[in-house]
Amino acid sequence: MTVAKRIIPCLDVDKGRVVKGVNFVNIQDAGDPVEIAKRYDDQGADELTMLDITASNETRETTYKTVESIAGQVFIPLTVGGGVRTTKDIKRLLRSGADKVSINTAAVNNPDFIKEAADKFGSQCIVVAVDAKAADETFSSWEVVTYGGRERTGIDVIEWVNTVKEHGAGEILLTSMDRDGTKEGFDNKLTKAVSSSVSIPIIASGGVGTLQHLVDGIKEGGAEAVLAASIFHFSEFTVQEAKQAMLESGLEVRN
């Protein structure tokens, strides 16, 4: 027996509103991140991730307020990401009630930022988001990409995750940009390559369309946690159903 595998619903938030058509029944305000966070909490989500997809300076205050409202009502871990560039950003998010902060582009631009953040706030709250794309048609090596996959960096994913770990990241949120939005399942080869090369926990993300995909991300990919947005948003599946599927396939989950 060891730590349970985690299911993490992800909320994409734009100017304080959840985007990507949420379809819950009996919910008064389908765009309200607090209501949705509470719903996932009730369903047994192990953590929540909130992604500020605008992340502009103008909407920053709204984000802090949203984080504060969620953290005041939902007593499970909350990770917040999107546009985190400075230790000041991290401090504000943590003080607003985030438990972990996810860094992406700022880490790629300056890997020392990870170290600075981990030294200051502790590795446990520093998640590095790694967006990966296959480097060629063989899908056997991957390249770090930024700006939603539009920009290739030439950095090898396996080298990068080792750097990230050495700099003090506590966790890696690994998204396959080849699979993101496809509903074809995680890139388990990518997840496996990453999870077997670093000792810190990996959250698999990008491509979930079925409950079996969640199971595969853990069994084949070796991920500690699986993140999904749309399958939960559109109420295709509840978190309970996802946990049931994981349980039935022999995985340890929190019940």
Binding site: A4, A71, P77, Q124, G170
Partner: protein, 203 residues
């Protein structure tokens, strides 16, 4: 009115600890404070802690430390995560530091083994080693949320253990002190139950 002081020595996020206490409080007053005079008037103490232990101990300044140590001799005290670790004898984190030596045991790095990830991050079961008022309405082997890289492996004050490769001590208790490695404020309903039990606890 019972006053609960959440000791704020400048480390980490106390928001979730105080929110969780407020969620279950009925008449109790929850005060997040770094003021020694306010702490002196408290009936119960919550000692949180997040981050590196050396920073926590350094931030825990002399006057704050002496008033806290004075109170935790007899006031009901709940210590969380690094707050728990600070109450032990020593920690090998940050090249080795002396701690407050209130509870038995030492903090060491979580032993590396093949199938585990470090930090120990996520939900894991706690196995009761002894009965305690703070376990009221919490079933044995319930899941709580952990996030840490250092741990206590043995203590005469141990009251629960958790398996992550090795068996780690997940809660310690002695007289008026209850200390947990996990985060009840992040452990959903059962975590709130533990805070409720703490508020109801009389020593």
């Amino acid at each position: 009115m019972t006053k609960i002081a959440v000791i704020d020595y400048g480390m980490g996020n106390l928001h979730s600890v105080s929110k969780a206490l407020e969620e279950v409080a009925t008449t109790e007053e929850i005060i997040v404070t770094s003021d020694p005079e306010t702490i002196k008037r408290a009936d119960k103490i919550v000692l949180p802690g997040v981050g590196a232990i050396k920073d926590c101990l350094e931030a825990f300044s002399d006057d704050l430390r002496s008033v806290t140590l004075e109170l935790i001799r007899d006031k009901p005290t709940l210590a969380i995560c690094v707050g728990m670790q600070m109450l032990l004898e020593s920690s090998e984190e940050n090249g080795g530091v002396k701690c407050l030596n209130v509870l038995d045991g030492r903090i060491v790095k979580i032993p590396v083994s093949k199938d585990i990830k470090i930090p120990h991050m996520g939900w894991n079961k706690i196995n009761f080693l002894s009965d305690h008022f703070l376990w009221s309405n919490i079933p044995n082997n319930s899941f709580f949320y952990f996030v840490h890289s250092y741990c206590c492996l043995s203590s005469s004050d141990a009251i629960s253990e958790t398996t992550h490769g090795a068996n780690l001590i997940s809660a310690l208790g002695k007289d008026n002190i209850f200390a947990v490695q996990f985060h009840p404020e992040k452990s959903q309903n059962l975590g709130l139950q533990l805070y409720k039990n703490f508020l109801d606890w009389s020593v």
